[in-house]
């Protein structure tokens, strides 16, 4: 029996390699499984609940498969019953239509609840950040501080932050895994997403929807600071950083990569200009019944909020 042994050998090597890698992987950051804010926390809990509910079905199925194949395999002298005509049992059928229905109903209940709850922040958002995905960089505008940054976004820790996202390039997706799930950035629309970092720290963020050549380099950092430090930082940018002019923006928007940048000011209404020039007004007629700029009205991370 040369071949099976060889096969087993290969299997063993692969499994050993796999084990080493998985163990080594423990030091790595499983960002989605290490939430650092309430949105990511809720999503993490849903991931765990859904995984457990699925496991309730999947694990018995796998065990049953192994058992059935072993017990009813075709070999001489197998004493297990053989009933070639046995093809229906109402009770069994009811059981395996019923159990999945119950599990899905349970999961569906949690899902619907969270789907409606998650877009609403627990408290009025403390600060607004307007995000624009460009080819292939991220522009962050702070309308209250009147400053702007590229490829990094400081935020105050411990308070909900209202992000408004759009795109001046093919649609991308704004994703900071440890703070919460992503939302598409789309030309001509300003979508909202609220996130919160519970503690100061640096959080990895990136574009999650393919936009061409430089897409892989669209990574950024969200830096959560205490309110005092955040204010200090904003003041410093205001004093020391260069201005972002309209020409400067047009240059920035050209396809290409960019380093981390800061700007002490930006053209008034730049974000609204970006949304409008990509067809914002065209999308108006099917927009919802609320205006922009009133953060407390309706916070729908998945709602299409258009600028007027």
């Amino acid at each position: 029996m040369r071949k099976p042994r060889l096969l087993r050998c290969i299997q063993l090597i692969i499994m050993a390699a796999f084990a080493i890698i998985v163990l080594a992987g423990c030091e790595n950051q499983f960002l989605v499984l290490e939430p650092r804010g309430p949105v990511a926390e809720t999503q993490y809990q849903l991931i765990v609940v859904s995984a457990i509910l699925c496991a309730i079905v999947v694990i018995p199925v796998i065990i049953l498969t192994v058992f059935v194949v072993y017990r009813y395999r075709d070999r001489p002298g197998n004493k297990a019953p053989y009933k070639p005509e046995w093809a229906h049992n109402t009770l069994l059928e009811v059981v395996w239509w019923g159990i999945p229905v119950v599990i899905i109903a349970l999961l569906g209940f949690y899902t619907v609840k969270a789907t409606f709850a998650l877009p609403k922040p627990p408290a009025p958002t403390a600060i607004k950040v307007q995000v624009t995905s460009l080819d292939w960089k991220w522009l962050f505008i702070y309308p209250e501080q009147k400053i702007a940054t590229v490829n990094y976004a400081p935020i105050p820790a411990g308070v909900p932050v209202q992000f408004e996202v759009t795109s001046d390039a093919p649609m991308n997706s704004f994703w900071v895994p440890q703070l919460g799930g992503q939302v598409y950035t789309m030309p001509g629309m300003a979508m909202r997403l609220w996130l919160q970092a519970d503690q100061p720290g640096e959080y990895f963020g990136q574009g999650a929807n393919f936009t061409g050549k430089g897409f892989a380099h669209m990574q950024f950092k969200v830096v959560a600071k205490s309110q005092a430090e955040f204010d200090k930082w904003a003041n410093q940018i205001k004093k020391t950083a260069p201005e972002l002019t309209m020409d400067g923006y047009r240059n920035l928007a050209k396809p290409g990569l960019a380093d981390v940048m800061s700007f002490s000011s930006y053209p008034e209404g730049l974000f609204e200009y970006i949304v409008n020039k990509n067809g914002g007004p065209n999308h108006k007629h099917h927009s919802n019944n609320h205006g922009t700029g009133h953060e407390t009205e309706k916070h729908d991370m998945s709602g299409m909020h258009k600028h007027h």
């Binding site: 796999f18 999503q43 849903l46 059928e93 395996w96 949690y110 999308h283 299409m304």
Partner: protein
């Protein structure tokens, strides 16, 4: 003049990459080799008469199969190139644009030019035989479907060396796929390659629906049909409703690109979201289109190799029909993060989860078909048994993805990549491979070698888990799809490296399978009975390979598992068979029009791709002439005389 030609050639041909030059050389050499062999052995006439003009569903099925295996190779090489590039951080094996083109062609080819034709191969080879028919309802249309697929796939594939490949993802979301961001011809190749083959797919859907509804052997009621035929029926309904959406969507994208329209552009009132909705209204049913026949295959195999009736037949049919209806109500789950609002997301989350219920029921029914059976671990059964746990896990991660708020964390990450590869490989590929192993003797008259097959099987299976389990973890680590490179600092390296190893194991599995086919052509166990697996359905009642008229006498069916019951009856009656009265058999004539018409479609598609209007118009005129020619063709059928049938049946060892 010379300068002009040089200029043209440098944009017309893809240049600058040694991989491409290698492919150029290989293509030219292969073409010459084929031409040489055909000429040297004087096989041109044979090729034309026996294959290019055939309307025989079995031969068309074999051509589909060969084409799909070639495309599996092409798409597989794409996958291995991608995995090489991602094996370690900051690799310089492929540059960004090349990588983008490769993942685009990988996805498009695997779904549209590998899975679809492999499915159509099995439709063609099996369905008429299973329902006791002599051909499909529209044999001419069937040939046309194949050649449209073939030339569509050809058009898509030549973009590799001519003009440049599409590189905006397999579903080509605008505005990235619009002229503003993809000015090259690659996107045009994408549109026309898919459009041309898409017409063929739609026609096949209609063809097999009519075949199943109208051409079943006398006595075979709908609820007596084999499960595979049921799955084909469900799939055809899906195709008929889904494919027109694809055609219209790509048609609108073409209008944008060719005529400067503004359906999906960023400016001028276009709305890219409309495209995303439309493409997934096709795209989601499409995944059920490819998986349902796999379910049908598993049902046949489980029943045959457990030597037991399929458990819960009615439940199985019911489940399949529910799936095919629900398949049209889940498309938004591909873009929960696009902001349709909590109410819409909640609805589509629940419908998506609900589809897991009938799917789960099918798994239980397969398990209880095996329960109290006698399970033979032949190759088709091995693939089926590998499918069950793999698909169960893939289905579970699918349910997890359906949890809309959690999907905000999975979306576009490697978790998603791992999920759909698990259901598409573990479900569709394993299913079709199981089907190919199962019906191979019916197609070619010999079995595929078990020993080499087991090597292929284990390499595929181990490779699969080594490749894709790490990708779930990578998703949790925040790795997004379609990145051509990543940094050392992210900690993604070890798992990516493992995944690459797994991909190559699967590649090795494929090599073993090709070796297995080559080896079995010479040494494979011949099937003289026509019923090598002790089968239950009608295709096993006739010789392998089946004569071109399939059934010398159309069987009379009394219930499900028709052949199984006939065998039981024959045993009770002793071996004596009632003498049957042969009659001349009515058959369709071969035709060259499907081939020629598809060539004209190819020319038209090529013309549109390069915006050479004269060429496109020439091609379309050719298509029109072919349609006219067919309309005035009256001599399209003939009768096989009884003497010839007797001779054929005797040569196949059948008493008449």
């Amino acid at each position: 003049m010379w300068e002009k030609i040089k200029d043209f050639a440098s944009t017309f041909f893809v240049t600058g990459d040694p991989l491409i030059y290698g492919a150029d050389v290989a293509i030219v050499l292969t073409t010459f080799a084929i031409i040489f062999v055909l000429t040297y052995y004087k096989k041109w006439g044979w090729l034309w008469r026996e294959w290019l003009t055939t309307v025989d569903h079995k031969k068309i099925g074999i051509m589909y199969l060969i084409a799909s295996l070639l495309m599996l190779f092409r798409g597989g090489v794409d996958a291995l190139l991608m995995r090489l590039q991602l094996a370690l951080p900051e690799m310089h094996f492929l540059h960004s644009e090349h990588y983008n083109a490769i993942f685009t062609t990988h996805g498009t080819i695997m779904i549209l030019f590998m899975a679809m034709p492999m499915m159509f191969a099995l439709f063609n080879i099996v369905v008429p035989l299973q329902i006791g028919a002599r051909d499909v309802a529209y044999p001419f249309l069937n040939a046309l479907s194949f050649w449209l697929f073939f030339f569509g796939a050809l058009l898509f594939n030549i973009s590799f060396v001519i003009g440049g490949s599409p590189d905006s993802g397999w579903l080509a979301y605008p505005p990235l796929s619009e002229l503003s961001h993809s000015p090259g011809v690659g996107q045009n190749f994408y549109i026309w390659g898919i459009q041309i083959s898409g017409i063929g797919s739609l026609a096949t859907g209609i063809n097999f629906l009519v075949t199943i509804l109208k051409m079943r052997a006398p006595g075979m009621k709908l609820m007596d049909m084999p499960m595979f035929t049921w799955s084909v029926l469900a799939t055809c309904i899906l195709i008929i409703f889904a494919f027109p959406i694809l055609t219209v969507t790509l048609g609108l994208l073409f209008v944008d690109r060719f005529f400067g329209g503004h359906f999906f552009t960023m400016d001028g009132g276009g709305n890219p979201m409309m495209y995303v909705n439309l493409i997934w209204m096709w795209g989601h049913p499409e995944v059920y289109i490819v998986i349902l026949p796999a379910f049908g295959i598993f049902s046949e195999i489980v029943s045959t190799f457990s030597r037991k009736k399929i458990f819960g037949y009615k439940s199985m049919v019911f489940a399949m029909m529910i799936i095919s209806v629900l398949a049209f109500f889940t498309w938004v789950h591909h873009f929960f993060t696009m902001g349709a609002g909590a109410d819409v997301n909640a609805f589509f989350a629940v419908t998506t989860m609900a589809i897991a219920i009938p799917t789960g029921v099918k798994v239980f029914n397969w398990l209880f078909t095996m329960f109290r059976g006698r399970i033979q671990l032949k190759q088709p059964m091995l693939w089926t048994l590998a499918f069950i746990p793999c698909f169960a896990v893939g289905g579970a991660t699918g349910v997890m993805l359906a949890v809309a708020p959690a999907d905000y964390q999975y979306h576009n990450s490697y978790f998603l990549i791992a999920h759909f590869h698990q259901v598409l490989i573990g479900g569709v590929v394993f299913g079709y491979l199981a089907g190919i192993y199962y019906w191979w003797p019916k197609m070619f008259g010999f079995k595929l070698d078990e020993r080499l097959g087991k090597w292929g099987f284990w390499l595929w299976n181990i490779g699969f888990y080594v490749c894709f389990m790490p990708q779930y973890a990578l998703g949790f680590m925040g790795m997004t799809r379609r990145v051509y490179t990543y940094g050392w600092d992210l900690g993604w390296a070890p798992l990516n490296f493992t995944s690459t190893v797994g991909a190559f194991l699967m590649g090795a599995g494929f090599v073993f399978q090709i070796w297995q086919i080559a080896y079995s052509i010479k040494h494979g166990e011949r099937d003289r009975t026509g019923d090598p697996w002790n089968g239950r359905t009608l295709e096993w009642s006739i010789p392998s390979p089946a004569p071109h008229y399939n059934f010398a006498v159309i069987p009379q069916v009394k219930g499900p598992d028709a052949w199984w019951e006939m065998k039981k009856e024959m045993q009770q009656d002793g071996t004596k068979k009632k003498p049957v009265q042969l009659k001349p058999i009515h058959m369709p004539k071969n035709s060259g029009i499907p081939f020629i018409m598809s060539v004209f479609w190819f020319i038209a598609g090529f013309g549109f791709t390069f915006s050479w209007v004269w060429m496109a118009v020439f091609g379309l005129i050719g298509v029109g002439i072919c349609l006219l020619a067919r309309s005035f063709q009256y001599d399209t059928d003939y009768y096989i005389p009884v003497k010839e049938i007797e001779r054929t049946e005797k040569a196949l060892g059948r008493a008449v």
